[in-house]
């Protein structure tokens, strides 16, 4: 197989990096930010770190039906600024994205602004320094930033979701640059998310969600469990696009809810009951759609069809904050080879 490598000559390292970025940008390979150019040597290093053959196809990505080989994943991971040891996480995430039950094609081509959200569980978080505590969804951590970015570059270059050409997202989203974190299992008094889904605590996993938004919820401290959950639920109005919820429950609320004796199931149940609004608030068509999907009764429309659609994960650092993500259709894969 011939590889489309090219030679770039420059008088200095700075010029070389600039030339490589300009070329990649002209080719449509980037998300707009600078990239690290992939070389024969770095690709070989990343493939080796994956523990797999470079030609192995991990998934076929729409809309172009591009084969996500280990080598293609490596090239995009390098461009994104990843370390070689991140490869098993990215490969597992591509496996999850490629699952036929995951709605990747609408994410890739639709006029909406959905993005994949990656949640990492297990020992791999510590080994790769994947942030799950203070600032876990923001800048500052290489693994969080670059693994999420590698996913975007893979969707762009392998899947072919060229903005405005194949991807018709009217506004797109800042969440499409990178959207991932680990679960703060060390602050979780209940079972971690991957254990809830049938994996062992010592397994390392990545879960991919179809995500619509990011909503930070502030307040609700020291007011009792019911008021705290009411505060959270009022930030989770019924919405178009399905009933899935991913609640990243912050450390303060985790501790107070646990100390008041609530289980994770109690939280899911109470949020399901509270996250409802009168049907009269909404357009008739929306009410009809929600009811047909099992998310409403005669008087109210619900955020989700049942407690199971509300995924509760512990993340972030101290403070009376939580994050609500309208996210569903989770696909979880074990991360192998760390």
């Amino acid at each position: 197989m011939t590889r489309p490598y090219m030679d770039i000559e420059a008088a200095s390292v700075a010029e070389l990096i600039t030339c490589a970025f300009e070329h990649a940008y002209d080719q449509g390979w980037t998300d707009g930010a600078p990239i690290i150019p992939a070389t024969h040597e770095s690709v070989a290093q990343f493939v080796q770190a994956s523990g797999r053959d470079g030609n192995e196809i991990i998934g076929v990505l729409p809309p172009r039906k591009g084969p996500a080989t280990v080598e293609a994943i490596a090239v995009n991971a390098i461009m994104a600024g990843c370390r070689p040891e991140y490869m098993p996480v990215i490969i597992a995430a591509v496996e999850a994205l490629s699952d036929p039950r995951f709605p990747l094609e609408p994410l890739q081509i639709g006029t909406n602004a959905m993005a994949p959200f990656l949640l990492v569980n297990g020992p791999v978080r510590g080994k790769l320094d994947i942030n799950c505590g203070i600032g876990c969804l923001g800048p500052g951590w290489r693994a969080n930033t670059t693994i999420g970015r590698a996913m975007r570059l893979i969707l762009l270059n392998v899947g072919g979701a060229l903005p405005g050409v194949y991807s018709k997202s009217s506004f797109s989203s800042p969440l499409r640059y990178s959207y991932m974190c680990g679960e703060n299992e060390e602050e979780n008094p209940w079972t971690p998310f991957h254990v809830d889904r049938g994996f062992k605590r010592e397994d390392s996993t990545v879960t991919v969600f179809r995500a619509f938004n990011f909503c930070n919820i502030s307040g609700g401290d020291g007011v009792g469990a019911d008021e705290t959950l009411r505060q959270i639920a009022t930030s989770m109005p019924p919405m178009f696009g399905g009933g899935g919820v991913l609640l990243l429950l912050g450390v303060n609320h985790v501790h107070s809810l646990y100390e008041e004796g609530l289980s994770k199931r109690d939280i899911q149940q109470r949020l399901w009951e509270l996250a409802r609004l009168p049907a009269s608030y909404f357009p008739k068509a929306f009410v009809a759609t929600a009811r047909a999907a099992g998310r409403g009764d005669a008087e109210t429309v619900w955020r989700s069809g049942g407690p199971d659609e509300i995924c509760v994960v512990v993340a972030g650092g101290p403070g009376p904050q939580d994050v609500y993500i309208a996210a569903g259709m989770p696909q979880t894969r074990i991360i192998r080879g760390i």
Partner: protein, 86 residues
Amino acid sequence: MIATDTFAKFGRRMASTQGFPYIVIAETKNPIRELDFDALRARVEAMLPTIIDGLTLKPGEIERRSRDMAKEQIRPRGIVRSSIPV
């Protein structure tokens, strides 16, 4: 395929990913949502010759007629991203 002009090229791109790069597309100007019955009927009648072509021409003839145009629509030369419909 029936599509408005805003989405026709995109429609061909998506059809090509399913193995149908030379699909016949009956196009009409976007938008159509606000058209009344008579205006909509006029649009449909204007598209009828294309629809009949799509239903009656042999595949080889459809390919011959649309090959060059389809190639450009599926992979527009020099465009790797665009903030306007292409």
